[in-house]
Structures are given as structure tokens and as C-alpha cells.
């Protein structure tokens, strides 16, 4: 049994006028000591998946199907009070948006100490020591002095590291990291990814690493889930998927990455845009943008099919050229 199990998760946006499906049939397991990377286009539903797991969907979003289990226990139907105890202590979250995760009126230290003492039996003095250690671990120079500064006195990347320190404050079993390194330069990024790997290994934590950066996934994740328009279109071991993407969308993502040394004036882009929730085309949601689409692709949404270790939701995975 995996530490975190997501089964057939569906999330709808429900308004007076209509109900729109934003996530559909999301199934994913994360073991203790494992890092699963979640990638996909902006708006694919990555952050929504994270929000659903920690019970922080914002109305009109709501879970309308499926189940989420933590260490075997279903947490999908728990009330707000029970979820609040789980958040921070058992599931730590690094939010995509560092500014809203931080209170501008409190110093970084006040926020860290508050979080630590809420979750762990510690005196304020001990909590302050731990807070400084956490800031050091995330690579903030002069942590002992920086701790008394306000969020606006930090650079974008430094605020992001403070958010990471906050997520780790309660020593959680599961870490949901939503774009934890997006605002960071390569060397700090390397440091943060090392830290995530170390936590995962030493604390046997399960990590869901949400990112649009395939480079980050390549070097950090054990397995990858590729999302498109509210569904997972391909999952499997990182090396298998990056070495030979089978879903045409995954292959397109791989080709869009700029690399140093590549002198093309334009990057390969996947034509068109991802459909918004509620406006999905018939059949495969990627169909209208897919270079390998065949007439039968519009029939019904493809179900995931196993190819070795990899699950692919595509009718014609063999038409995708090895990238």
C-alpha cells in the first residue's frame, strides 16, 4: 500500500449555471521514500490536484468523485478541523505562490516559530533555533539575521525558500511541492532539489513534485505523471518516459525545451492551446493539436493502456517518434 493513494479523483467547478469538470479520473500512488513528478501545460490541473489532496480547493471547486488515502486512511471526506491537523503536520505544502503563503505583516521568524510550535511540542526558543536551521538548510545566507526581516525585504527566490522552510517546519510525511524551484536560479535550484531528495530518503517522505520543468523532473523524480486538460495522459518511471515518450503530448513537450547549443531561431511549439475545463473536444482532449491523430481519436477519451512500466492514454502510442 502506498503512503499516498489517489483513486479516480474528479474535481468539478460548480456554479449556479453549470458544472464543469476540471479533473477527471486522476489515479496516482506515491510510496514513502519516493518522488513523483507531475508535469504538464499551464492550466492542466496540477495545482488543483495538489489542492484537492490537502483539502484546500477553493469554491466553486469541489471533489465530486474518487478517493484520497493517506497511509490507508481515506481523507477525502474529513471535516475542516481534521484536515487542518493533517496539513502542516502530516502533509506539508509548498505553494506555487510564495507571496500569498507568507503574511506580509509578520517577520519570517514569527511565521516559522508559529508554525513549528503549532505542530511540534517545542518551546519558542527551541522553535526559533529550528527556524534558523531550516532557513540555513534552504540556503538563506545570514539566516540568523534574516529571520527578523519581513517578506518584502527578500528577493523572489529567497521568499520561495522561506515558503519551503515553512512547509518543512512540522516534519511532514507527505510533501506536496508546487513549483518549488520555479523562481530559483540553477545553483539554488540544485540545492533545493538536493534538500527534497534528502528529506525523501532520510525521513521516508512521499513527495509530489509539481513542476513544468522537465529538467527538474529528469534529475529528481523516480516516476512522472504527465497531465493534460485535467487528466493524466502518461505515467511511469522517469527514465522510461523521458527516454521514449509515447504520448504525443509528452513528445511535444520534450521537443519544446530550449537547450544551450541549439541554434534554431524558433522553438518547436505545440500548435494551438490547451482547451479550458468545460470546453474539451470529443474523444482525446489532445486530438486537435496532435500530429499523430487518426479519425478514431475523436470517438471516446482513450483509456490508459500499459506498455511495460508505462501507462499511456493514447490510441496510437506507436506513431509517436522516439524523441
Amino acid at each position: 500500500m502506498a503512503l499516498l493513494e489517489i483513486r479516480d479523483l474528479a474535481v468539478d467547478f460548480v456554479t449556479r449555471r453549470r458544472r464543469v469538470r476540471a479533473l477527471d479520473g486522476i489515479s496516482l500512488d506515491i510510496d514513502a521514500g519516493e518522488i513523483v513528478g507531475m508535469v504538464g501545460e499551464s492550466g492542466a490541473g496540477k495545482s488543483l490536484t495538489g489542492a484537492a489532496v490537502i483539502g484546500l480547493l477553493v469554491p466553486p471547486g469541489r471533489i465530486s468523485g474518487g478517493e484520497i488515502r493517506l497511509d490507508g486512511q481515506a481523507i477525502t471526506g474529513l471535516g475542516e478541523a481534521a484536515m487542518r491537523r493533517i496539513r502542516g503536520r502530516r502533509i506539508g505544502t509548498i505553494f506555487q505562490d510564495p507571496l500569498t503563503a507568507l503574511n506580509p505583516l509578520l517577520t519570517v521568524g514569527e511565521q516559522l516559530v508559529e508554525t513549528i510550535t503549532t505542530h511540534l511540542p517545542m518551546s519558542r526558543a527551541a522553535a526559533r533555533k529550528r527556524a534558523i536551521a531550516l532557513l540555513e538548510e534552504t540556503g538563506i545566507p545570514s539566516a540568523g539575521r534574516r529571520i527578523d526581516h519581513y517578506p518584502h525585504q527578500f528577493s523572489g527566490g529567497m521568499r520561495q525558500r522561506v515558503v519551503i522552510a515553512l512547509a518543512l517546519a512540522g516534519d511532514p510525511q507527505v510533501i506536496i511541492a508546487d513549483e518549488p524551484t520555479t523562481a530559483l536560479d540553477v545553483s539554488v535550484q540544485a540545492q533545493i532539489l538536493d534538500l527534497l531528495r534528502r528529506l525523501c530518503r532520510d525521513h521516508d517522505a512521499a513527495v509530489l513534485l509539481i513542476t513544468h520543468d522537465l529538467g527538474v523532473v529528469a534529475e529528481t523524480a523516480d516516476r512522472v505523471a504527465v497531465m493534460y486538460a485535467g487528466r493524466i495522459v502518461e505515467t511511469g518511471p522517469t527514465a522510461a518516459i523521458m527516454g521514449r515518450p509515447r504520448h504525443p503530448y509528452t513528445a511535444g513537450l520534450m521537443r519544446a525545451i530550449p537547450t544551450v547549443g541549439d541554434l534554431r531561431p524558433r522553438l518547436a511549439q505545440i500548435g494551438g492551446a490547451m482547451p479550458r475545463p468545460g470546453a474539451l473536444p470529443h474523444g482525446c482532449a489532445f486530438g486537435p493539436r496532435c500530429p499523430a491523430a487518426r479519425p478514431d481519436c475523436t470517438a471516446a477519451a482513450p483509456v490508459p493502456i500499459r506498455h511495460g512500466d508505462v501507462l499511456v492514454a493514447c490510441r496510437h502510442p506507436d506513431l509517436t517518434e522516439a524523441a
Partner: protein, 325 residues
């Protein structure tokens, strides 16, 4: 002639003084976020700016668009010295000089509709077109960044992180600027949207002769977009040069270390070599050359004297020839 010319631009943020400091009458401490940067950006080019988190890239960007008041130095745009803060700059200059911010969450007013957010910089112009024309313009801009005209009626919270960044880009484009400061414009975007945005920036540059100052921690993005590259370290510009030269033959020891951190994309996990040594603190920067505690080539002079930028590099070892090129 350069379209933008910064001379010795500096910005120090004051910090609160502790009680012992005040008793001892010690001077008010400060963070020298930008410490004397001189650079020019030529019309129609893309200058890429790289450097570690906290080295002052965003502060430099904000100085250029007038969101911080410089503590020293001057800025000229199109041959004329400009007022330090945006409030004192004429609308015509504000129209020409726009910025895309690093944080797409903080830069969009949550209570406004997207259409109004996009049209705002245009609406504050003295010769602003009437509201109907502005709405039409906003719809066009939305389409240009890969969103739909119908999105104009929505609020920012209904969009994902990447979608919000596209809204921010549409807004910056609304006044038809000729100089755009882009602070991490695609770092919140996935690669396929990033490819669209970068291609869009290129198209705009070709069609309208736009000039970019592009800040990114993604060296591949910089390599793809920039004509020239500036490298910052702890508030100072340590190297600047043609992109091809800097990537092929980085000269400053920091640039060399930075380029060695390039990630690879083959699905094989390997620990990445971060630049060795502690990231120094902007609160108490090292003496002399700020890089000396991490520099494998450092000599006695480096600890006492800050090297000046000469021939595109600020390094004693390069200037005196003890570092092999």
C-alpha cells in the same frame, strides 16, 4: 547610440537599526542590492541578465522602470536623462518603457477583470483611445498571448499561474512599448507555453523592433533569446559580452562556475554541481572582489580591492593575466 544607458546605478535598501547599534551610534545598516552597475542596451537587441538569486536582478529592473529610487547613478533613455521615479516621468516615456514582473500573482489586481487589467496602462495615457476601442485592443492582446477574448471578463483568480503570466505579458504590451524589461517572464510557464511566449517575443522584436532586457535564471532561455549577456554577482556586473563569446569562452571565474551548472535532459539522475562555496550574504558582502571567498583563482589583491569592469570583465586575474583564458 544605446537606447538605454545606465551609469553607476546603485540602490541600497536601509535596514532597521538594532538598539545596541543605535547606542553605539553606528550608521544605519543597508543592503546594497545594486552597487554601481553601468550598462547599455542597444535598440532592437536582447540583453540577457543572469546571476544567483538575490544578486540584484529584479532591483536593477525596477530601477530602470522607476519603481525604486536609485541611491546613486543615472539613467538615460533614447539619449535623454530620465527622472529617477516613474511618478516623475512623462506619460510618453512610461508608454515606451514597460515591465513584466517576476511574480504574476502580486502584479495583477485581484478585484479587476482581466480586460481592465490589460487596458490599464493604455487608459492612463493622455491620448487613450475610447473604452470600446480599448476593449477590442485587450481582446487582440489576449489572442496574441494564447488566451481567448472571452477571458477578458474573468478575474485573475480563475487562471492558473502560467495563464496569469500571459495576462501580465498582454498588459505590458498594451501601450506598444519599444523597451520591455522582462523579469523571469517564462519561469512560471511550462515548456510548451514558454516556447509560445519566447517565439512571440521574437516575432514582436522582428516586426516592431522591440528591445528587451531579459532576466532569467534559465541559461537555456537566455542562450536562446539574448544577443548579449550580462552576469551579476552580489549587486555588481561582473561580465558582459556577446552571447556566443560568453557561452563559448566565459572569462570571469563566476561565469565559468555558473555555466558548469547547466542541467542536462537525458533522464539520467546526477547530482548537479552547484557553484562551490557558501552563497554570500548581501547583508555583509565579502571585501574586495565579492566572489573571492568562492574563487579558485583568488590572490591577495582580490581580498582588498574590488575589480573594475574593464573590457567586459571585472576580475583582477583576467586583467593581470594570471587566469588562463
Amino acid at each position: 547610440m544605446m537606447l538605454l544607458d545606465a551609469r553607476d546605478l546603485a540602490c541600497t535598501f536601509p535596514l532597521p537599526r538594532s538598539l545596541p547599534d543605535r547606542l553605539a551610534r553606528r550608521p544605519r545598516p543597508g543592503i546594497a542590492a545594486v552597487a554601481g552597475v553601468t550598462l547599455g542596451v542597444a535598440r532592437g537587441e536582447t540583453l540577457g541578465l543572469v546571476g544567483e538569486s538575490g544578486c540584484g536582478k529584479s532591483t536593477l529592473a525596477r530601477l530602470i522602470v522607476g519603481l525604486h529610487r536609485p541611491s546613486a547613478g543615472s539613467l538615460a533613455f533614447d539619449g535623454t536623462v530620465v527622472a529617477p521615479t516613474v511618478r516623475d516621468r512623462p506619460p510618453a516615456l512610461r508608454r515606451r518603457l514597460q515591465m513584466i514582473f517576476q511574480d504574476p500573482y502580486a502584479s495583477l489586481n485581484p478585484r479587476w477583470r482581466v480586460g481592465d487589467i490589460i487596458a490599464e496602462p493604455l487608459a492612463e495615457q493622455p491620448d487613450a483611445p475610447p473604452p470600446a476601442a480599448r476593449r477590442e485592443h485587450a481582446a487582440e492582446l489576449l489572442a496574441r498571448v494564447g488566451l481567448s477574448a472571452a477571458d477578458a471578463r474573468r478575474h485573475p483568480h480563475e487562471f492558473s499561474g502560467g495563464q496569469r503570466q500571459r495576462i501580465a505579458i498582454a498588459r505590458a504590451l498594451s501601450t506598444g512599448p519599444d523597451f520591455l524589461v522582462c523579469d523571469e517572464p517564462t519561469s512560471a510557464l511550462d515548456v510548451s507555453v514558454q516556447a509560445q511566449v519566447l517565439n512571440l517575443m521574437r516575432d514582436l522584436q522582428e516586426a516592431e523592433g522591440l528591445t528587451f532586457l531579459l532576466i532569467s535564471h534559465n541559461l537555456a532561455v537566455i542562450h536562446h533569446m539574448a544577443n548579449r549577456i550580462g552576469v551579476m554577482y552580489l549587486g555588481r556586473l561582473v561580465e558582459i559580452g556577446e552571447k556566443t563569446d560568453v557561452f563559448a569562452r566565459p572569462r570571469h571565474p563566476y561565469t565559468r562556475a555558473l555555466l558548469a551548472t547547466l542541467p542536462r535532459l537525458d533522464g539520467v539522475r546526477r547530482p548537479r554541481e552547484a557553484v562551490a562555496g557558501e552563497v554570500p550574504s548581501a547583508l555583509s558582502p565579502p571585501s574586495g572582489c565579492h566572489f573571492h571567498p568562492r574563487c579558485p583563482f583568488a590572490r591577495a589583491r582580490c581580498r582588498v580591492e574590488a575589480p573594475a569592469l574593464a573590457d567586459g570583465v571585472a576580475c583582477h586575474g583576467i586583467a593581470e593575466g594570471w587566469i588562463p583564458s
